[in-house]
Subunit: 304 residues, 4 copies
Amino acid sequence: MTPPAWKWFVEYTHPTQAHMHGVESFIYSGKTPYQVVEIIDTQVYGKCLVLDGKIQSAEHDEYIYHETLVQPAMVLHPAPRNILIVGGGEGAMLREVLRHPVVEKVLMVDIDKDVVELCQKYLTSWHQGSFDNPKVKVLYMDARQYLQETDETFDLIFMDLTEPLENGPAYLLFTRQFYRVVADRLSAGGIVALQAGSFNPRLIYCHAAICNTLKTAFPVVRSYAAYIPSYDGSWGFALASKLHDPLRSSGPEIDRRLQERGIDGLRFYDGETHRGIFSLPRDVRQAKRIEQRIIEDDQPLITY
Amino acid sequence: MTPPAWKWFVEYTHPTQAHMHGVESFIYSGKTPYQVVEIIDTQVYGKCLVLDGKIQSAEHDEYIYHETLVQPAMVLHPAPRNILIVGGGEGAMLREVLRHPVVEKVLMVDIDKDVVELCQKYLTSWHQGSFDNPKVKVLYMDARQYLQETDETFDLIFMDLTEPLENGPAYLLFTRQFYRVVADRLSAGGIVALQAGSFNPRLIYCHAAICNTLKTAFPVVRSYAAYIPSYDGSWGFALASKLHDPLRSSGPEIDRRLQERGIDGLRFYDGETHRGIFSLPRDVRQAKRIEQRIIEDDQPLITY
Amino acid sequence: MTPPAWKWFVEYTHPTQAHMHGVESFIYSGKTPYQVVEIIDTQVYGKCLVLDGKIQSAEHDEYIYHETLVQPAMVLHPAPRNILIVGGGEGAMLREVLRHPVVEKVLMVDIDKDVVELCQKYLTSWHQGSFDNPKVKVLYMDARQYLQETDETFDLIFMDLTEPLENGPAYLLFTRQFYRVVADRLSAGGIVALQAGSFNPRLIYCHAAICNTLKTAFPVVRSYAAYIPSYDGSWGFALASKLHDPLRSSGPEIDRRLQERGIDGLRFYDGETHRGIFSLPRDVRQAKRIEQRIIEDDQPLITY
Amino acid sequence: MTPPAWKWFVEYTHPTQAHMHGVESFIYSGKTPYQVVEIIDTQVYGKCLVLDGKIQSAEHDEYIYHETLVQPAMVLHPAPRNILIVGGGEGAMLREVLRHPVVEKVLMVDIDKDVVELCQKYLTSWHQGSFDNPKVKVLYMDARQYLQETDETFDLIFMDLTEPLENGPAYLLFTRQFYRVVADRLSAGGIVALQAGSFNPRLIYCHAAICNTLKTAFPVVRSYAAYIPSYDGSWGFALASKLHDPLRSSGPEIDRRLQERGIDGLRFYDGETHRGIFSLPRDVRQAKRIEQRIIEDDQPLITY
């Protein structure tokens, strides 16, 4: 009998819970000033980007994550011209945004230049050359500082951040104070969309706290979720806006707008998917009602 | 530093993919004539029933699985009086069915008396005494044989089976020939609902083949799915019927019918949940269109 | 392909080092007032007693551990009549001591009555009925208290203790103060033998500290070691005495004494084995020379 | 709480037994025409060379393995001038041989040039520049073919081979037919030393079979073993010769010869170590007596 794989990446989500991924090869391992980076190749999910021990996205299902984070807001906004992406190092956020011909400018602000360069080199199926698109500009700096100092306003702001790990680079980008800054840099019909924590019932309080915090800055805040196989779980997202509400768009309207914009390459998102991902199960709605926490700069949310 | 847990249950879903559950205690381990049984206690998911190395249901989230399997069909049927449950050893299927006062008789047919008795003893929060309900009758025999020999017809048939493992007890309950027998034992407005394989894209062909096979016996076949945390994944279900179609029920209609029947103890299922679980993502719909396989007795489906 | 074992006992020896043992069944799991107890059954090593997450002894190789701990001292002493065993819950220490017809009395003092009773029930191939031998008496109490209060003296004292884990029951039985008490209860030609920590070079400082501490109470202190497969390592022992020195016994002398006493059931120990286990490799001797620590009650040794 | 390591190398020694090594970084991963190669860095054992999923040697304890394989034969031979090393890719065999000024020529024959070059590049603390020593010559070819075709004779032949894995590069270098060839290429007082399988009682039959097979070609065959921490076990070696017998050398004689040759850098081997490693425990001697197998080309030994 052949023994099973001998190289494993083990992603702990709790001291007593973990997922084991057999690894074909460890393509890259290193440390940046901000985080520990691995690029691994797995039989089942293909290449994976791992930051601080957490899978960020996997070759075979990153389309689910990135379409879910980007497309609902893109479609909901009638004319998204000026886009900001916070984080998004893999370049797949760019790829998704650039599907929409109406887009004129995309600014990506990522604190970790090393990670972006590694993704450019190794994760070509993610970015598909998007970094070379003349509409795209990349800044390597702290997004909070950028937003505090700029005069620019954006139609859409996407936040594709790592989880708020202790000493990680992102935990101050999930607070009431930061969302206030974000709201100020959004145009009147602007929308913000972000990854917003696991939908595992054990961790749903994190998602709920993020939504509560968004509500301090935005009149419309909606949760949604998609099952991401390489995360072994259902992952939460939030869409917050000053005006537009995704619950008011029917499936056929979504499909019509995608068609009007000439977008036919999506694998995950469309009108029926939209209806599904914005319909939350009762237990999640209940858990969200119970959690009252608002995240503050001096009491940040930290996940395992 | 305290070391992490030292007792683990590792559920392999592939030679290179596994989930590790730290175990507080192994409450029961044994073999029945049909399968290997463990009842384990975990910090995160509470007690779990494990058959042939696969978690069947977990204390803290079994409500998701069992409500999802039972309630859509129960609600869709205008007057479900006579119910058959195939499998369902934990007794939670009974619990869910018995929420509906309109039910007059529930027959449960499970091949493995030992497992049912272990569940009665150890999994009290699952069955909550349902085995003692005078409407309930339990038969210990092969469900296929039972259905071939009986004259009885049922309004609803639920199939809560283990996955079709090689040499497992259930693999001949997923075939075209068996679904023909099931259809013959359903009343004119009858509905069948079953667990129908993982929604992991890698395994979706199993779910698709089950749906294809159901279509050989039923005019209406619908897929749906729910994220089950203790499975670390989105799990597929199928609803097949001669008449009623869950896609034609709106959320408010679902909520109204639940209210009419006086059911208010559900934690997962309601109208909005219904809309979500029956809205399949585009990639799943696409994968289902591609898979053509129909499962035959002499070419059964076998999963890892 | 059949998946590998799904129940595992993982023994961590370091946050980044562990041994995985596939488990056939978890025979017993529980907590006593002193420690967490598991009795597991493994394919490769048979039944194993696990205390606080550490394998204490395994059915298929406990003979190595127990013969090594008991026989060198038994053989070295010309007339071992009155024996004390501290710990030794499995009863295999008794079995080994009772091989020598010259023995008149064996007192076993173990703090944990529950563990002893579990061993009596489940580990019959270890004790082989030794608890019923009329020469044997068992006391359930703290051995240090017993030795402080008794007037009895012993020819041999064996200490078969768990490792000095934080909050474990044994860490105060490895100190200078305790060894002083032990020395006082030994007869003039008396010998003490004990398990004395891993021989893994990374942990050899523990063994060295135990030996240093013994030297504060005994003129002769000798290290020895045996490879215990179920420990995945070479395990250290120490023999301390007021008079007799195991390095002065040649192999043929050992074999002759065993023969004189009519002992022919040993599987591991004899003259050649004696020569091997008392010959330490150069790196271990060197490491022992460097480590100066003496273990004090108020600065106890604690292992991972 | 910080989660434990997330990258692991798991070395399976049986379907239900494995050792987990947390990995700091995977320095190199690749395939040669002969085997899968990894160079990993671990917190506890430093860098490790892994071939086909088995640790070959580890930075922090390779001195134990290489001194044990090389030094007993080197010291036993009164004038080892012309040396052959079969395998030995890390270069640590060269390092050990070259400690003896009496050596005039060392030929190393390794089939896998890629592995040797990787070791030269990454494992500098192993070879310590030995490849550049003018006494050294390296041939990249099948050692069996080389020995069949050459006229050269050697004073010492070392075989530092991977285990005989199915389809691995070494399994035909453990057979009666090959040992016949080896014996023919040894000078009259020549000695051969080889790694010869695990000393785990479960696997001792492999070691025994290797010894039996050596006895078909050599009058003197001796087993010995050392505990190698990074292997988590006691590892077997064999020394076979036409004349010299290591059991006839006392510890002081060993120490004297080392001193005569001016060798003082050894960390593991000396006279006392010699006595220990050549003293086999009784159970091993017994197991060796029982196993009768002789390994033939057409019935090779294959390990897991």
